[in-house]
Symmetry: C2
Subunit: 334 residues, 2 copies
Amino acid sequence: MINLKQLAQMAGVDVSTVSRALNDSERVKPQTKALIKSLAEKHHYVPNDMARSLVGKKNDTIGVLVPELLNTFYAEVIEGIEEAGNERGYSLMFGKSRFAGEEEIKLIDMFMRRRVDGIILCSSSRRTIEHLRKLKKSIPIVIADTFEPYADMDVVTIDHEYGVGGVIDHLLAFGHREFGYIGDSKITPLRLETFRRGLAGHGIELAARHIFVGEERYEEGGYRRMTELLAQPDRPTAVFVGTDNLAIGAVRAARESGVKVPEEMSIVGFDDIIASAYAEVPLTTVLQPKQEMGRLACGLLLAKITGEAAGFRQVVLKPELVVRKTTGAVPGKG
Amino acid sequence: MINLKQLAQMAGVDVSTVSRALNDSERVKPQTKALIKSLAEKHHYVPNDMARSLVGKKNDTIGVLVPELLNTFYAEVIEGIEEAGNERGYSLMFGKSRFAGEEEIKLIDMFMRRRVDGIILCSSSRRTIEHLRKLKKSIPIVIADTFEPYADMDVVTIDHEYGVGGVIDHLLAFGHREFGYIGDSKITPLRLETFRRGLAGHGIELAARHIFVGEERYEEGGYRRMTELLAQPDRPTAVFVGTDNLAIGAVRAARESGVKVPEEMSIVGFDDIIASAYAEVPLTTVLQPKQEMGRLACGLLLAKITGEAAGFRQVVLKPELVVRKTTGAVPGKG
DNA sequence: TTGTATGCGTTATCAT
DNA sequence: ATGATAACGCATACAA
């Protein structure tokens, strides 16, 4: 792969002249510039950004860390980040943490070694957040989709209280009083807590025997947990499922067990992933503005990188309920 | 951000000693090594991989180019690439081309400027392939999920003939003779051609009025195209849909129009994305080994990077039909 | 065991 | 308008 020096030799000029010519400097005679450019073209010269950013400073690269890729939730967030970044000439480097704290820290380390200009973390663990507190002076960092809007960091997240509250109000309005919950151990713990607290606020207790949580985060997990729930002697009339991925499987399990949704059981998801509108029964769920989160996170980060922004900002989005076909009135109460 | 030189000053030694110490060289006294390491730890030293790879050569980074991320098909391929890469210490840099040739070329250029060790391209356009022919001497490149197994490049792809052939045989065995096709303009053109040719081989013509192709690549596109197809005066008994994303929408459109699937119409997809097994009616489709493709592509690339492999290899996978619930006998012929 | 010197590819600051 | 040179952060062959 050819470099400036070789180009300089061929053109019979100094490297510095070549550098200037290729960077369209005014201070180089049009003829030599033309010569150099044609030479560069001819020999497929590709500048070495490693060297360039060594002397310069910036990279025009941001690191993005997500737990998993198969989850379209994260794909949408990334989509937002990518667009916002692209518009301003940044490319993405990314890593997948599998929800593992050590992986997160390893990948953050890699990002730093690569001298990315900034890092966006999605759904990172609390432990990792602690780790970040030490790094945030060295490099701009934005946390997306986190549990709490940490005041000492740049954060983009949603108002869980509001989102889950919408679910509860919706179900209460339909007359439901017996609730169940299905979730996973990584993504949804806060939703469970918020749900429980919200119900308690209405004097309703969420029975432990109606709570099903496990590792699996996709349809299969929801399917299995709903099957377990249906095996209980008494069955709730409404179930809140922590993510749409799980909810889609849960709806299927219910229907396959002969339980009509929503006639005999209402089910509400969370996220509003793409598949939800096209599920077996279009899913009632809480819309997280995923791409928006990505865009905002990237915006915050770029503002930090360019120095436009000082201090830390917390952006808290309101996730709105989207009522579709999996929720209805309590059986027998029309 | 601290560097070797500063560390050297603090330790009262030369940079080279620090470098050796941090790289665990034998040629440094245990005591000084310990001192230097503790110093590095204390001051949060993070090596600069830009500088390192400037002098060295390698990057331990590979560039991955996909058309889109929301498509779980690509997410799965990436998953495979990422795993295979991770195992050998490589991280990913990636870009999204939106199926646009110019975007692809721009991103490839970016990868090269960043001096990635190699590039994997998914579903790249023919035009881009031409472009790559010039670059493949400068950098290892692997093409994944392409139309043809170009003999002069490293390629991982599937045997379309075989996959589509399986669909045709399956439908013929059910007695179908009237076929329709739904696809998109970016991903599926080859599938349409293969389908048409395959049918012709059985003396069956695919009528133009039963072919629906458009831009949209997700459920909505399939929904719309199936709606159009159903508006035709005569309706095929079986429809091959070029991707599962489209197929899921197509099934929904059929059912909402009162056409029972598979009783009144058989529908077959292609890809076997995660959602397909959990669709409204579990989808009969052709399984593309996506993660496997990713792993293999990455394997080929790493072999090229490390110099283990010479020449070009074409890996052609056999995509197998997965029979689920959207296909059945021709109506009235039980 | 440690230091010296050189080079990686590029940009930038001087001169000329 | 162009050349010489230093500098970016690090690794390494060679000396000591």
